[in-house]
Point group: C2
Chain length 158, copies 2
């Protein structure tokens, strides 16, 4: 068996990945709060991304996020209450309710993308652009392709 390196214990790797993720998300939301979106939670940003500019339904959203349609529906309720999403009837299928981003939601979406780009550039300025690209490539090499599972609270907790 290969020897473990005592000065680089394996448990640091997940902690560093989590810390990196958390740093980015916290910085994003600090900036979004300054730009008129103080109520947006980390989860909400991802849901907004999953809804996208074209809209979806609750069931489809649940599939994209890897959660049940009921859980997706509840989250949509909250984002509707916050003014980020709206529901509309589907004229072609009376069972379905289309979920769309409101103008406020689209604004949040656009600003999120811009801030994420800025944060990536900040990392590039610190580490060098090649190291950031290498980091991305390495992570892609060791993770499965189905990245987009966002049931983090339930997954991590219980």
């Amino acid at each position: 068996m290969a020897t473990a390196e005592p000065d680089r214990p394996g448990f640091l790797l997940p902690l560093l990945l989590l810390a990196g993720f958390r740093t980015l998300i916290d910085d994003l939301h600090a900036e979004l709060a300054r730009q008129g979106h103080p109520e947006l939670r980390p989860l909400h940003g991802f849901v907004l991304q999953a809804v996208g500019g074209d809209g979806t339904t609750a069931t489809e959203l649940g599939q994209r996020l890897g959660v049940s349609k009921q859980a997706a529906g509840k989250t949509v309720d909250r984002l509707v209450a916050l003014g980020y999403l709206e529901r509309a009837d589907d004229p072609r299928d009376a069972r379905r309710k289309l979920v769309r981003a409101t103008p406020h939601g689209l604004d949040g979406l656009r600003r999120s993308a811009a801030v994420f780009d800025q944060l990536r550039q900040r990392w590039a300025a610190t580490l060098g652009p090649d190291r950031v690209a290498a980091l991305e490539d390495d992570l892609r090499a060791v993770t499965p392709a189905n990245l987009f599972r966002l049931d983090v609270p339930g997954w991590f907790g219980g």
Copy 2:
């Protein structure tokens, strides 16, 4: 302003970090389930680490984890019910209840460390040892030192 790279949008970085974290944690718990710890949740492993071999109190645990003493107490309750932790009176301070890992808890702790080392070696085998070390160094350079905040469910959700 520096130009954003269209083929490497900023929002991928947090997704890749999260995916890396999640891959490691999922692999860990799949292996722990095989080794006699099927009930251990991701959160529980970190709590166990925070308790450590010497034991603590609920309040101190809450401070280490970045959550309230009440939340820490509840989590301790569940880990006591699962047989990973136990409470004992502090003979020097009747207010305090010492929280210690049981033999079963210490077993989980040891196995977690071993599996994390193995997973890191697996990454090193895929990427090369130098890339893994570089990844760790880079992440350390862009994240604040206070990594150890584990209120992930409440933080992400909210």
